[in-house]
């Protein structure tokens, strides 16, 4: 793995400076647009807001799916990075709780991308294993740290918690979805804290 954060293909020939700049900008703008307008956001609008021509967008991302995939991977990357960051700045149990709240946001995005992602995840089989592996790895780290510090009970593991969060996926798309999920996270944390050091 190279140290490049936003590169997706391994050992790619380095892009020219302007190309890299444009590419990053495109991904950033696309992430916003997909979040606000859904995956059907206009590619021409994305190019416009990124300050590049439509041709440039297409050179970097030959299809909409390519762009969606890169945005999604970036999202996962951010989520994992946040785990490390939160662990550094907060007590282990707080870090876990904050991270789970962020996880809710991530799921919300994923829902927005749902239609495209379903296709991508069946087509591009590495995408699923990659990302779900990374996400659950991040969660495992937080949980083990919190357990080691005696901040949460030690008799649960990451897969239990992931399973418990499963409700977030299946919850209907109501406007109060966000609050519901927030409560679910709190509830789960209470359960995890209860009996700590027991």
């Amino acid at each position: 793995m190279t140290t490049e954060a936003t590169r997706d293909a391994p050992a790619q020939k380095p892009l020219r400076a302007d190309a890299q700049r444009n590419r990053d900008k495109l991904v950033e703008v696309a992430a916003q647009m997909f979040a606000s307008d859904g995956v059907d956001a206009s590619l021409e609008e994305i190019a416009r807001r990124a300050g590049v021509g439509i041709g440039t967008l297409y050179r970097h991302f030959p299809t909409r799916e390519h762009l969606v995939e890169v945005v999604y991977r970036r999202e996962v990357e951010g989520l994992c990075h946040a785990a490390a960051e939160l662990a550094r700045l907060h007590p282990a149990d707080v870090a876990l709780e904050l991270w789970m709240q962020r996880f809710v946001d991530y799921i919300a995005t994923k829902r927005g991308l749902a239609t495209s992602l379903r296709l991508l995840l069946t087509t591009n089989s590495t995408l699923f294993s990659d990302t779900s592996g990374r996400v659950s790895g991040a969660m495992r780290g937080l949980i083990e740290a919190a357990a080691a510090d005696g901040k949460i009970r030690a008799d649960v593991d990451a897969s239990d918690v992931m399973h418990a969060l499963g409700g977030i996926y299946s919850a209907p798309n109501t406007p109060d979805w966000r609050e519901r999920s927030g409560r679910l996270v709190k509830l789960l944390m209470d359960g995890l804290r209860f009996g700590a050091k027991g």
Copy 2:
């Protein structure tokens, strides 16, 4: 959700004569176009060849998927109808053989529609159970009739034969696909005839 469904077979409010005419023409033309150009055939071209405006096409089929679904159902319908027809006109074993040849054509169409169908079949779960049930039912009828007439061996059932035909799906998309499949059908028929009345 009881309202809008595909209105072909069910007793929906009867369409005005001209509307029904246009609708039928559209489906017919679409079937040809999808077969020759794939599912991405231009809807405007379909409308044009059907001699109607694009607006008319969209009124009848709000999305491309609607149209694909109707065409596909029609294909299945035709296949099942052919089973009855062939059974009426030919000895049971010949009917079976001819039908399986037609089945090969059907698979070819299905392959053409593959991308769209995959989506449809996961989205619209009744579509799969409906159609696959009807097709295997038709095949079962032919096989049982042929077995009853002593034209083919009696120790196989429809699911065995369907399974044996499975190779047609998995065969690569080579230009000689059609001949290959034809030979597979013949081979299978020889196997079925061998030991008839035994």
